[in-house]
Symmetry: C2
Subunit: 236 residues, 2 copies
DNA sequence: CGGTTGTTTGAACTGATTCAATCTGTGTGG
DNA sequence: CCACACAGATTGAATCAGTTCAAACAACCG
């Protein structure tokens, strides 16, 4: 336990637990847990890390959702990746080509690259763990490209909702949709106006029911079909 | 030198040279060069590796261009990544979520994952090399997402051409365009018909000149502006 | 209550697709 | 050298999906 901040009594955050819940063996999680790290709370709507800044940190999401985003020269914003609880963002050498912002309020564990890298280098099993993590992220990135490049508006939104449900481990067909319509637009490469129409359409067609931010998948199979969602790419 | 096939006198292919030209130190390239590998020639237009097949191989492109692609359930095809000479495709555990096909005729060096992985694990410097490679690929993937999600038709094609020129180390503003218009469409998420119109427009506007497959960048600065091409993401 | 953030709706517009036909260049076999 | 096949490039016309702009509405919060 090397967290820099005092732990409040109600707060059960530890890096070890976070990693174990992400599928890492206890023994290996213990190794990383010795790394100096601190807990940061990230609020949505305000920039957390800027595009172009050095990124010599490891981050692991404990709760909430983080997004990586890029802005085009013309100012249009695209979210290029999401990090759900248990997932992380690894350090890069030199300036990062993307910014980081929260989708919803996040609890994030942050460590330093210079502490993190040697631990990983010394442990082949940790290497393999993070290697697989990178490959899963790559796989998700490819699926997002197919989504943006080749699917129509409805399928894109449906696909994002399916993926989100799986990554949040929603079991009962009932999910509190974490995204604003603008965020869905920024992920799927559309306008928020159109996302609104698509969601309304999906409800009219009986694919989902909505109450405020809650979404119920009334017909999961049909939803998957519309989205052409094949979850294999997530199980990498 | 452990290449399985006899080397013809005119053939100067070696894994070591390929890696050194990709920026790897001689000493480290020598280590990998000891790995069993063979030379394969990959023809465009016919599938080389199928989506869903196991991918327990390392590949390095010696000449030509390889593509990774995915097909949507509706059959629409999206190219999700390119590999230029000196670049490689690393093995994944389990079935691959993408197929591999040549853009133009390729010379590819293929080795086995079970030979490759231990060599990398034993050498922290090799790890770091491939780690950076993965991060560069990630960075390019993010840029492609911005391209597909947030740029208009012209900018997408222009951006692909700019990126290709840089990755091919074209210095004189003159490039033999390696892509068919259908391939450009499959990368940028459009139809070949529209790509044709976009290219014609770009020529009319004096951004490029075309002779068959040859492209001359008449106004590189303007081209970059139209594409909003910031090459930093390639130098990762 | 006023301020802020997010959702919903309408009308006009436009960029890209679709479908179909034609044209061009290249390689192959007779 | 010609005929034929084939891959790719080009063009037109009709259509449509998604954007843009603008305004109104709802929910939340200090």
């Amino acid at each position: 336990m090397a967290s820099r901040r005092a732990r409040s009594p109600t707060e059960s955050v530890s890096l070890r637990e976070t990693l174990v819940s992400a599928g890492l063996e206890q023994r290996l999680a213990d190794l990383l847990d010795q790394m100096q790290h601190r807990v940061v709370y990230v609020e949505p709507r305000r920039p957390f890390r800027e595009q172009g800044a050095p990124r010599d940190e490891v981050m692991f999401v404990r709760s909430g959702i983080l997004s990586k985003y890029k802005s085009d020269a013309t100012g249009r914003r695209q979210i290029v990746a999401l990090r759900f609880p248990g997932e992380g963002i690894l350090p890069v050498e030199g300036p990062a080509q993307y910014g980081i912002q929260a989708i919803v309020r996040c609890e994030v564990l942050v460590g330093k690259a210079k502490d993190f890298n040697p631990i990983v280098e010394e442990n082949p099993e940790l290497q393999r763990f993070f290697w697989r993590l990178l490959q899963r992220n790559e796989s998700i990135g490819y699926e997002w490209l197919v989504n943006c490049g080749r699917r129509d508006s409805t399928a894109r939104v449906a696909h994002l909702l399916c993926e989100t449900a799986v990554r949040l481990h929603v079991g009962n067909g009932h999910m509190v949709n974490p995204f604003t319509q603008q965020q869905i637009a920024d992920i799927t490469g559309q306008t928020s106006v159109n996302v609104n129409r698509v969601l309304a359409d999906m409800e009219r067609q009986g694919l989902i029911k909505r109450k405020g931010r809650e979404i119920e998948f009334s017909d999961w199979d049909e939803m998957r079909r519309v989205a052409s969602f094949q979850p294999a790419y997530l199980q990498n």
